[in-house]
């Protein structure tokens, strides 16, 4: 049995090696094909606006995608490429500085900010000029122009981004584009039923229910209820399955009474 014992020893030592070889997962690196810029079907159905304007010749239309109702690739004289994006946001509660922080973060450190008034279609908005001082070369440093407009409770953002050189060349075209813009609503806006003022304010006179997918797992169901001269917002947020189990409970609001306890 001598050979057997030798084998046993090998197995034993191999098992020890196996026990000590259990490590944690590694960081992985891989290449992926660029994701197509076509809009996702569930986003197309939510599109409500079309933006028309004088588009310069060197802007190539890419079509709507995600939150963007219009986007273009801007081609510079030095073969550099930039991007124009038009994004409407409904019910945004962040203030101007918080929104600008998003784009400042993209530019890196030492960002210089300037602002001026600008005509956007028939309205007046504000144009912010954000430029990065790092790196110092204008061929490499990045710059963003963002025009902001609040119209009909919708925050509109018109953004052009690219190298400092490209944005310097494209700024006149971008302002011309902003001046010529027309925003067309492609769907009928939903309007809340206007109710007569009710001093008792104890019966919900109308409500509308919205169902949003925050992402693939998370969902938000909201009810906007009008009671007399008051508008109330009820929100249910959580995992898809949990919200689905409980969303019908929001219908109980139809049978609830609201009392003005503030006197």
């Amino acid at each position: 049995m001598r050979i057997g014992f030798t084998l046993e020893k090998i197995i034993f030592l191999a098992a020890i090696a196996l026990l000590t070889g259990c490590g944690k997962e590694d960081i992985k690196v891989y290449q992926i094909p660029k994701e197509p810029t076509v809009a996702k079907p569930h986003q197309q159905s939510q599109e409500q606006w079309k933006v028309i304007g004088d588009v310069p010749e060197n802007w190539e239309e890419k079509g709507p995608s995600g939150m963007r109702v219009a986007q273009y690739v801007v081609k510079g004289k030095d073969n550099s490429q930039g991007e124009v994006a038009v994004m409407p946001m409904v019910g945004l509660r962040a203030n101007k500085n918080e929104i600008l922080a998003i784009w400042k973060g993209q530019l890196g450190q030492d960002v210089v900010e300037k602002s001026e008034r600008v005509k956007i279609g028939e309205d007046e908005g504000e144009l912010f000029d954000l430029s990065s001082q790092q790196p110092t070369s204008p061929e490499l440093s990045q710059r963003i122009l963002v025009a902001m407009l609040i119209k009909d409770n919708v925050n509109w953002f018109f953004r052009i981004s690219g190298t400092s050189n490209l944005i310097e060349q494209s700024k006149p075209d971008f302002i011309k584009y902003l001046n010529s813009i027309k925003i067309i609503s492609t769907s009928q806006p939903q309007r809340e039923a206007i109710t007569k003022p009710n001093t008792n304010a104890n019966i919900p006179s109308s409500n509308s229910k919205s169902d949003f997918k925050v992402n693939e797992q998370i969902r938000m169901v909201g009810v906007i209820a009008s009671a007399g001269s008051y508008t109330m917002f009820f929100k249910m947020t959580g995992q898809n399955s949990a919200v689905d189990r409980h969303k019908d409970e929001l219908n109980l609001l139809n049978h609830s009474g609201f009392k003005n306890v503030a006197g």
């Binding site: 690196v29 660029k34 530019l107 890196g108």
Partner: protein
Amino acid sequence: MWLDKLINALTSIRLTVLCLALAIVLVFLGTLAQVDKGIFIVQKEFFQSIIVISDLRILNHKVPIIFPGGYLIGLILIINLIAAHFKRFGFHLQKIGLLLTHFGILVLLVGQILIDHLHIESSIRLVEGESKNYSESYTKCELAFVKISGADFDIVVSIPESYLYKGNVIRHPQMPYEIRINEYYENSQIERLSGQSNERGAATLGIGASLRVIPLPPITTTDRRNAPSAIIELIGNNVPKGTWLVSFFLDDGQTFNVGNEQWQMFLRPERYYKPYYITLLDFTHEKYPGTDIPKNFSSRVKLTNPQTKEEREVLIYMNNPLRYGGETYYQGSFDPGDDRVSILQVVKNPAWTTPYIACALVGFGMALHFILKLSAFVKEQKKR
């Protein structure tokens, strides 16, 4: 010699009985722990570990537990079984049935370790008309940094969740910067700060400047998953100075520049990319009339593989999965809120045959052992 003594102990039948008894206790403890910790954590802590260092809640008291883990018990059983054959059973033709049975048990034990390491279960959520070339993990998340290149490809650096803990500094040759994890929330909710609020955002850069993070206790049930968030900081030359919030709730990546390189960051379910695309053409979801009980659901998908120039339509429905590229696509679920959405379950398990082979070997070995013993008994009876 100490090694010989150890080998004697390892080949003893007492050790076999002890291991089996410990395995029974481990299953019992794991079952109790599952109530509070959930099945995925228990699988990892109790069964896919060498030593269990955990706790149990008994009558509202936390009781610490230190116990041999599933892998340790399994490995000792494997060593015990193999060594016993060399020392005690030997290799005789009369014992071929026994040998086959034990070999079947070995295949089962080794197969389970292989399944633990090679088995990947994920899902693809598709809206009608949508194409995807990746599936997403049910439980694991990744902190992904994507380098946007001018070519047709982007480079992804995927950092597993196990690296995300407070104070950890992550570096990788592909990234021209380091990442410091300032805070990590295993499960969380995020909220937008009110415009009038003086409260500072969770981070100083990106969308996190206008959001707050609410830590939540980890999920222990199987029908929900954790939604992690983290506050991170980039360290290096030419990187934006400040903190970023990355969260499971933020679908869109946050973009930043490092010199003339453009990067995006995401905290998202771990993705498994494939060299082919699955497009959902049509999803049919039938219910029993007058009820919400699903009767039948099927997905008509298009499989497109640019490498092999393959393009074909497949109908996936209950008990009729698509098997392709070493993976099986089952009709997994649907979205009760959107009848255009199909959720396919994707299972990759290269070791899926091992339990079948093991059972066949054990069954055949036992039958053979019985027949050989019976024939020997009959022969002996005849002699008498």
